[in-house]
Amino acid sequence: MSKNITVEELNTDVLIIGGGTAGCYGAYILGQNGKHKVIIAEKANIKRSGCLAAGVNAINAYITEGRVPQDYVDYCKNDAKGIVREDLLLSISQGLNEVTKKLEDNGLVILKDENGKYVTRGNRNIKINGENIKPILAEMAKNAPNVEVINHINITDLLVAGNRVHGAVGFDVNKEKAYVIKSKAVLMATGGAAGLYRPNNPGFSRHKMWYPPFNTGAGYAMGINSGAEMTTLEMRFIALRCKDTIAPTGTIAQGVKAKQMNGLGEIYETKYGVVTCERVYGTTVENANGRGPCYLKTDEISSEQEEELYKAYLNMAPSQTLKWIEGGQGPKSQNVEIEGTEPYIVGGHTASGYWVDNDRATTVRGLFAAGDVAGGAPQKYVTGALVEGELAAKGILKQLAEEETETIEVNYQQILDSYNKHLNNDASNISIEQIEEAMQKIMDEYAGGIKKNYQYNEAGLVIAKKLINGLFEVFGKLKANDTDELLQIYELRDRLIVCLSVIEHLNARKETRWHSFAENMSHPNEDKDYALYVNSVKTSEGIKIVKRPLVVDDYKPLKFTFNEDNTINYAGGVVH
């Protein structure tokens, strides 16, 4: 007997897809400021889902005493070699300290000096105990008026008609039940994408990666499929991390001032520049030229410092402390080996993601984006994602106040048919895991993964595109025995869709502005003509590249406008 998934329809004013950092804070702000009904649809459970599951080591985006928001904008702009949206960054920077205060009011422990002032770590950071930051945020969201949290539902598709969003469709990951959630506005807050490229530890510990392996690019994929414009997907994020555990290095580098040192004992970090991509690049080049392994030089720290590092890592990446203890040698007696990760697509660290205006509206009417899924504003980190959640929530409130939304019935049968197809497919000899490994191998070898020292060229990208497209053919035949397997199939679908857009973006930026992040060997130098945004829109003819001029310091904040039929009227200038 064939399976036919059951369906429940829900109605709300605002649907938030993803209850991570930005989603929870967006819900909190909507609950505090409006009378609108809000549903958070979360794939796991908002208590520990998303980037903050294990905790975070510090607040890394904060305007410290003596500095102003514009300083933070300038820092991000310099780090990204000019390809940022200054309007977005300024609006984030102006809100960083207020959201930090809100977190403290709700229970986040922040270190203070004897005068009651926050203790800083570097120019933009303050010290906290961030182990429980996600449960704090989850409580804020859950307790906000008019907010309903539905855990364990995986949203797969937006309901869009004529470039206007009307809700979304997903399924329960624990039982064969689909949800059709109709809403007047949607806040996309799914996070970015890990698992596109072959990871550092491809065997048993394949998910021992820095970015959550459960962030599979669903938000990008849903947007791409709905014709939303994306920006700067070619600016991949490659993190410099502790070898094996892929735990953050900033706590060591900033906390005990450890320098980057090669296998010959030479400090190399200033040789290549110190912006984020250059730190990764330097380490990659040192290794490629036979001067590895590379380390953070920690062998001069004190026993007290070592003890504090054990605790700091338990509060955010416990596997690193376990590795030190189990190995019988802590950072005091052994320098910490470092490596670059596989590339991620993550708008909280680089500028990749949805093309949004200053209200965090996307180019699909009624669809907003915040956090790692939103582009243009790198280095937003935790507090920047919170501010974006707030700005998107306020953008949504403005829209709900201004517009009478017409209720349109959007046909969703095709989406349910797709679920049922996988649930009823016959088992084949090709598994979900095989296709995932094939995708990661293709991206690694032809689109600049670890194996190729993050380098790629135009000939390789042509092959990558062809091979990823080929995987879609097999993908349709995958069988799901239950919705847990259906979740894995959709996570794979999302990654495949994102891979195709990333390949187009890598190919479209015909220069190398960022070493490692986008190391285009067909165009190995920076080109001033590429001081622009590379954007893309998926159309019926394929992925179309749109180049847009930089929104620079004398900007007016970008505001999108729509025509009466909801098509986009203005989304920034165009470079021909």
Binding site: A44, N45, K47, R48, S49, G50, A53, A54, N57, A58, V109, I110, L111, V119, R121, K127, I128, N129, G130, E131, N132, N151, V173, N174, N201, G203, F204, S205, R206, H207, K208, M209, P212, P213, F214, D244, T245, T251, I252, Q254, G255, V256, Q305, E308, L309, Y310, K311, A312, L314, N315, A317, P318, S319, T321, L322, K323, I325, E326, D484, L487
Partner: protein
Amino acid sequence: MSIKINQDRCVGCKRCIEVCPGNLIKLESGKAAIKRERDCWGCTSCLKECHKQAIEFFLGADVGGKGTVLTFKEEGPIKHWIFTGNDGATKTIEINSLESNKY
């Protein structure tokens, strides 16, 4: 790197199943079990959720694991992280959650 669930300690309360950010834990014969141990991220959310210290966290051999396990116990604001080696020797690191990281 993954988790192992101590079947003697587990009471089948499902708290770990509810919280896992990867939906990776299921109930099997009344006890928690990990679905695919290779898919664990290592966030230790389940350890913190378990009131029976039934969940043991370990590193895979490919990232340097040799069998030591990490367990977790909470007493008021004090978090105890307990490392138990193959020889049964333990080391505990206590963290006061009301105190900030020094770094």
